[in-house]
Structure formats: structure tokens, C-alpha cells
Symmetry: D2
Subunit: 142 residues, 4 copies
């Protein structure tokens, strides 16, 4: 995953016992819950309501996830989950995310979500969703 220093949207979460395991650090699966919360906050910030979309018959099942675990999080830590749109394909959306504690990067993740109807067949990502998620981006990244 390429580093992305341009992500500016984040939510802030605390690490509780339910996030951790007896290895003393955050469980490797618990990161995915924080990533979900980060994407949910990001989409709301961009004006995209995933719940409304699902009511309208568009759902977004996960198709791919990759995550690099860089530093452990521990009980009591305050973390920030940064999220940005990576790219939008014909029938998929991908996000890049980073979890940080202060200046320290704890994890970087990329997720890809299919855009499908309730029949589970691919659907085109609606134009307004596409526009909303790509808004505020510098068109010409070097």
C-alpha cells in the first residue's frame, strides 16, 4: 500500500478490553471493527448514507481486504482512523485507511467493496455516490 499523507478525515476511538486479547495488545481482528467505524464516519462526512443505499437495494459486500500491522495498540490507547476513497470502479469502491496513535502508524489497510443489487449481481456505483466520495480530492496527484 502506498503511503498516503493526504488523508485528512478521521474519527477517534478508544481501545477497550473487548478490543484486546491475552497477548496484551489489540486482537488482529478487532482492527476491522475500527476500520468499519472509520469508513462509516467517512461516508457520512461525504454525505453518503450506506443504510439508505441498502434500503434502495444497493449493498456493498467486502471482496478484498489487506492490512499491514505496524505497531500494536493497547488497552487505553486513543487511536485515530483515517479514511479516504482509493478508487471507484464500475461496480466497486475501494478505500484506504490508516490507524494512528499520535504520530505513530499502527496499521494501514485497503478494502474493496462490490456494488451489487439484492440479487447479488453487479450494479454500477451511482453517480452521486461516486461524486460525493471523490469530492475534495486534488485531481492531479503527481
Amino acid at each position: 500500500m502506498s503511503s498516503d499523507n493526504m488523508m485528512d478525515f478521521y474519527i477517534e476511538n478508544k481501545i477497550y478490553y473487548h478490543d484486546t486479547d491475552s497477548g496484551g495488545v489489540m486482537y488482529y481482528g478487532s482492527y476491522l471493527e475500527h476500520l468499519e467505524e472509520g469508513r462509516s464516519g467517512y461516508c457520512a462526512y461525504k454525505g453518503v448514507d450506506l443504510l439508505d443505499l441498502s434500503r434502495a437495494g444497493l449493498i456493498f459486500p467486502a471482496v478484498h481486504l489487506e492490512i499491514d500491522y505496524k505497531n500494536p495498540a493497547r488497552y487505553g490507547d486513543v487511536i485515530r482512523i483515517f479514511t479516504d476513497t482509493d478508487k471507484i470502479g464500475n461496480a466497486s469502491i475501494s478505500f484506504i485507511q490508516e490507524i494512528r496513535r499520535g504520530e505513530i502508524s499502527l496499521a494501514k489497510a485497503k478494502t474493496v467493496w462490490a456494488c451489487v443489487g439484492i440479487d447479488m449481481r453487479p450494479k454500477r456505483v451511482p453517480e452521486d455516490v461516486k461524486k460525493a466520495l471523490l469530492s475534495g480530492r486534488t485531481e492531479s496527484r503527481p
Copy 2:
């Protein structure tokens, strides 16, 4: 909760990292997942298919839970989840359960489940479900 030495049905589970927290023991909420698995196994053993019932429009939301935590479970432990029907009311079912590691009692729990339709209004527990869950019980407990 009264002790119940008559429970004979159990399932056996292992404790994994995802069950534990950084206190070094099983998280207090993770017990509820093992209790779910125990009830599910018990109902299947009694010939009651909760999924079939839900498809037929009967669902069983949790209304009450109480649990006494007696001894901690740790990563790698093999536990047994014992389950029995406690009683069946007009529109509710309650189960008693115990989690043990070998001879040691780790937790005792009682859960109460409402029997409702998809409109969330109380429904009578079907006679065959009642009969199945109460089968094999000594009628005259002292």
C-alpha cells in the same frame, strides 16, 4: 441460580485469543458466545431447529440474562458448556447453563427468551417445541 447437577448435555469448545482480553482471561462478554453455541447444540440435540422456527415466523429475542462468573478461563483451555431447559412459560423459554473446565465450574448462567411473531407480539411456545425441550426430564424433581 440453583445448582443443577442433572444437566447432561454439553458441547466442548476451546478458548482462542479472540475470546480473551488483555487482562489475561476470557472477556466477560465472550462467555455469551459460548452460551449461544451451547444452547444451539442443545436445541439441535432435542430436535428443535431455531432457524426453521424463525423461517416460520417465530423468533426468540433475549429478555433476561444473569451470569455468575466463578473462575476465569484462559487461552488454550478446553471448556464444556452444559445446557438444560429451565422452564417454559406461555410465551417464553428459559435455559440454565454451566461452563466447566474439567471439574471446575467457571460460570453459571440463566437466560430467558421471549417467543414472539415477526410483529414482535407474544406467541405461545409451540407444543412440539415444549415437548421436545422438556423430554427426558424427571417429572418429579423434589
Copy 3:
């Protein structure tokens, strides 16, 4: 559990997919994670640092939980977790909690925590912890 309209401390959480199950509502075990977050926030608000206490050799394993589930929570709901000290015994602390969505009560819970040393033997609850947790309470409840 007696109703308690005097609880005034709360934290606010959102319900995400990771809280729910395929029954369409919050999983009965996920409430315990929100209850943990509520107690953690409450203790911090009262000036009690559980992590500091654990470093000083005092830990608080769960010994009892009871919860009445009153109304389901769903994906997207914003809930408030109210917490108050119930009572403090020689070597235990109990909390009462309520989860609400707006004016609607979703669940009421009581938890009891032992106060033990790292040898797992009962320890007296420190006076300053006792004082902090009981501060601001009307002495003479009718």
C-alpha cells in the same frame, strides 16, 4: 433491578454492523461491550483510573452480571449508556447501567466486580476509590 432515574452520566455510542447479528438487531453479547465502555467513561469521569489500579496490583474481575433486554437496538442507532455506582462492599463494587435510544429504554444492567490482588485474593476497595465513586450522590435516598 430497580429503576433509577437519577443516573446522569452517560456516553453516546453508535451501533455498527459489528454490533449486530443476522436477526437484524444488536447481538445480546454486544451490549456488554457498550456497558464496558460506559463504565470506563464513568470511572474516568469520577477520577478513577482502572488501568492505574491494575498496575498497582488491584484488579476487578466480573463476578455477576444481570441484564434485562427491553427493546432491540439496530444498525445506525445512536445509544446512550448511563452508568452509576450501585454500591460498594468490602471487596466488591457494583454498577447499575441503562442503555437508551432517545427516551426509550433498551436495556438495564447490573454488574458486580470483585476487588482482588494479583494473587486473586479479596482486597478492600481503596478509600479514595470508594469516595470518588460515591461522590455527588444524595446520601438520603428515600
Copy 4:
């Protein structure tokens, strides 16, 4: 991830409500719990005791995970988690895994684990661990 039809070790798990979300299928994070259980079973089968290793001061934090979600799992499904060693580096181990329901592939995953001491500095994977995890493999894969 390359397909791997040679994996022959698997464990069998059932999908419970605690694995699912209100989208009606297994939560994208719950796969990681089943993957943990699969690796744990696989290591035990190969004679490698992760708990013993951690007591001896060797721990294996996650450094990378990638997973392709191919088909949803639902409540009541019986799944098989296949696991094999992918490769063993100087101070890391990687596993490949596949989750199947009958003949249908639900997910394929690769995880990479660092081998570190309690000081979190890289340690060489012990020779007997390496030998055990690579045992039974055809040396000459094309």
C-alpha cells in the same frame, strides 16, 4: 493469492449468530476468528505449540493479512477452514488458508507473522518449528 489445492488439513466450524451481522451474512471481521482457529488447529496438528513458544519468550504478532471474500457464509452454515504453511522466512512465518462450505470457496487468506522476542526484536524461527511446519510437503512444487 495462488490457488492451492494441496491443502489437506482443516477444522470444521459452525456459523452462529455471533459471527453474523444485520446484513444477513458473516461479518467481514469474523472470518479472522475462524482463521485463527484454523491456524491454531493446524499448528497443533503439526506438533507446534504456540502457547509453549510464547512461554519460552517467542511471540508471533501479525504483520500482514490479505483476504479475498468470495461467497458469503450464513447463520447455520458448516464451514471448513483449510490451512497450510506458505513459507518460512528468517524471522517470519506465513500461512495460506481457505474457508469452504462444501465445494464452494468462501474466502482465501494469507497471513504473515513476525517471530520476535519479548523485547519485540526479530528472532530466527526455531529449526524444529520450521521443520514441523514444513513436514509432509512435497519438496518440488512446480
